[in-house]
């Protein structure tokens, strides 16, 4: 194998390297390395290849110094390019690099001092040290540096990947007021961006659409996805439903779409695990349902660490399997939402008769009062007496009294 290294402080190295090889490593801002094996049929001998590279590099208008080295290993080419001016050919790496100072290697300060005290000044001297002793003194890094000095490290290149952007913009010839033609344009952008996500093994957890409107305003919608997705159809449907729920106030004259790339969710699957809804399909379904019942009425129940009469809330988010071992037969409770205003007859401060919308009867048994209060320092404070009652209609209710009597719900 043969590698070429270009070392220059100001030349556009990536452009020069890309002219000779589609895959190259940018070791440092001033250093690029690439393989030149296949160029022999195009340019000839290694010297002719090096001259072709030099010609390409020197034709650049900046005219700064450019060092080029060709060697059998990538690291040998890098060391040569950084230390020898002009074009350097290393057909056998070790002998030619042997006279270089060891400061050309990535030494730590401590190693530099120790090697200096040993009288080791050149790569050749370092290469000839016993490997076991070097490993004992400096560990794996010492062995790596010795291999580097010997030109014996044969490693694959870390191929440079240009940074992928996930933002596109379309300027429209005519203002678009209908959603359907707008969706065609959004679909085009989404298809391109999802293809980019797929090729980079990424997914998106946030989609932002910005519509520049005819009245010089901007309509921005951001969808935060509970699970990273990269299926353009699902994302398009989510955007469609969001724009239907929150339409722009004027026709759009330009649109831009951006995705926030994240690593996709990895889930360990198993043949014996139960089937669960596909995350993208579930999110689409829940978004559809949110469109019917309201944004804040779909989610997961979450218990709160409080003694509040309703110690729970609804939180958005995807359902996640969480094993729960404790299972008992517990008598369930159902809330009346809102609580029913009630008329209660009392004898000896105990309820004996209840009358509420749809509920009337004699109290057969009552347990209470259970006095609860809390959060008196906030506006959501409560202070009430609760009773569990059995009514003559056969039902069990929980009633409470704060300023009035209410039926909170029934045991079912």
């Amino acid at each position: 194998m043969m590698f070429a290294c270009i070392y220059s402080s100001s030349a556009n190295l990536r452009e020069i390297a890309a002219a000779f090889s589609p895959s190259f490593e940018q070791t440092a801002p001033d250093t690029v390395v690439f393989r030149v094996d296949g160029l022999q049929r195009l340019h000839g001998s290694p010297r002719q290849i090096a001259e072709a590279i030099a010609q390409k590099a020197i034709t650049k208008p900046d005219g700064d110094e450019v060092n080029i080295a060709i060697a059998e290993t990538a690291d040998a080419a890098i060391i040569a390019a950084r230390n020898f001016p002009g074009v350097t050919l290393l057909t056998n790496a070790a002998p030619n690099l042997s006279d270089l100072d060891i400061s050309t290697l990535p030494l730590t300060e401590e190693m530099s001092q120790v090697l200096d005290s040993w009288g080791i000044y050149t790569l050749d001297q370092l290469a000839q040290l016993p490997e076991n002793g070097l490993a004992e003194r400096f560990g794996p890094h010492g062995v790596y540096l010795q291999q580097l000095a010997r030109g014996a490290i044969d490693r694959p290149l870390k191929i440079f990947q240009p940074e992928t952007t996930y933002e596109d913009r379309i300027e429209l010839d005519h203002p678009v007021s209908l959603l359907e033609p707008l969706l065609f344009l959004i679909a085009r952008l989404l298809n391109d961006q999802c293809a980019r996500l797929l090729s980079n093994a990424m997914a998106a957890n946030e989609v932002t659409i910005r519509l520049q409107l005819e009245d010089h305003l901007e309509h921005t919608r951001t969808l935060r996805l509970p699970v990273p997705m990269r299926e353009s159809k699902s994302l398009l449907k989510l955007l469609q439903m969001d724009l239907e729920a929150h339409p722009p106030t004027a026709p759009a004259i330009a649109l831009s779409l951006s995705l926030k790339p994240v690593h996709p969710r990895t889930v360990q699957t198993g043949i014996f695990l139960p089937v669960t809804p596909a995350p993208d399909k579930l999110e689409l379904t829940l978004t559809r349902i949110r469109g019917i019942v309201g944004e804040n009425n779909v989610g997961l129940p979450e218990l709160l660490n409080t003694h509040h009469p309703q110690p729970f809330r609804l939180v958005p988010g995807p359902p996640t399997p969480h094993p729960q071992s404790r299972r008992t037969s517990q008598h369930a409770f159902r809330y009346f939402n809102p609580p029913l205003h009630a008329m209660i007859d009392l004898i000896d401060n105990r309820p004996v008769r209840l009358s509420a919308p749809g509920i009337h009867g004699k109290v057969l048994n009552a347990a209470g009062p259970w006095r609860t209060s809390g959060d008196w320092w906030t506006s959501t404070n409560w202070n009430r007496d609760e009773w569990d009652i059995a009514l003559s209609n056969g039902a069990l209710y929980r009633i409470y009294h704060d300023s009035h009597w209410y039926v909170e719900g029934s045991y079912d």
């Binding site: 695990l273 139960p274 089937v275 669960t276 809804p277 399909k281 579930l282 689409l284 379904t285 829940l286 559809r288 349902i289 019917i292 019942v293 309201g294 009425n297 779909v298 989610g299 997961l300 129940p301 979450e302 218990l303 110690p311 729970f312 609804l314 359902p319 996640t320 399997p321 969480h322 094993p323 729960q324 071992s325 404790r326 299972r327 008992t328 037969s329 517990q330 008598h331 369930a332 409770f333 159902r334 809330y335 009346f336 939402n337 105990r350 048994n365 009552a366 347990a367 259970w370 569990d388 059995a390 209609n393 056969g394 039902a395 069990l396 209710y397 719900g409 029934s410 045991y411 079912d412």
Partner: protein
């Protein structure tokens, strides 16, 4: 004639008969009577107020979530109590809760979307507090549509209600009744301790009933 088919017939099994997987709700007497709630079908849980319908629904959800399945609760009248559900063993992180704000039409649409999304273990459609005047006006076509959507899936659609609604579309119809309420403590200082519930299978009709207890949260 296919010789294999002949052999199956001689064993007394109909070749076209479906063997349905079941989900036992984890209440021993009921499990013994039913064997479990059939998957891929509609199950109706009937009863008047305080009969124990919701208790049975919570047990079914707990059994499903214990198998790491994702469940959904379509709460027509915003009556769901996560505290008693969690106490019954329902893993709340696996339960999608949809509050429909007293709108039965929204509840039916939400259930329809969930059924067609697929992948759920149990979907509960809570119609317990829907007035009969509204629940009786639900078109029968909804139940046929739901039954069709459930076929060949592992999902159970559990309807909690006062009177039967899905009728011929339901594969299981359980009538729940509260038989006894147990209060402890002296008169004037009593405490609601537990209830004894009885479940009777109206479809398929079984002569036996299952009695089980449910402890109060207090």
């Amino acid at each position: 004639m296919n010789p294999n088919a002949a052999r199956v017939t001689t064993l007394g099994l109909r070749p076209d008969a479906k063997i349905r997987e079941c989900l036992p709700p984890g209440l021993a007497p009921l499990d013994a009577m039913l064997g479990g709630f059939p998957r891929g079908a509609i199950a109706e849980i009937l009863g008047p107020e305080s009969s124990g319908r919701t208790t049975l629904v919570h047990s079914l959800l707990a059994a499903s979530t214990a198998q790491l399945e994702i469940c959904a609760y379509v709460d027509t009248d915003d009556s769901f109590d996560p505290v008693s559900a969690a106490a019954a063993g329902v893993a709340l992180s696996q339960l999608v809760w949809i509050r429909c704000g007293h709108n039965a039409g929204h509840a039916l649409k939400a259930a329809d979307y969930l059924l067609h999304a697929g992948g759920f273990g149990v979907i509960v459609l809570d119609l317990c507090q829907v007035p009969p005047g509204i629940s009786n006006r639900i078109p029968i076509s909804y139940w046929y549509r739901f039954r069709r959507a459930l076929e060949n899936t592992p999902t159970i659609l559990a309807l909690a209600e006062k009177e039967p609604l899905a009728k011929s579309c339901a594969s299981l119809m359980l009538a729940i009744e509260r038989k006894k309420t147990i209060w402890t403590g002296a008169p004037g200082f009593s405490l609601l301790r537990e209830v004894e519930l009885e479940a009777a299978s109206r479809k398929p009709v079984r002569p036996a009933t299952a009695q089980f207890k449910a402890r109060s949260l207090a």
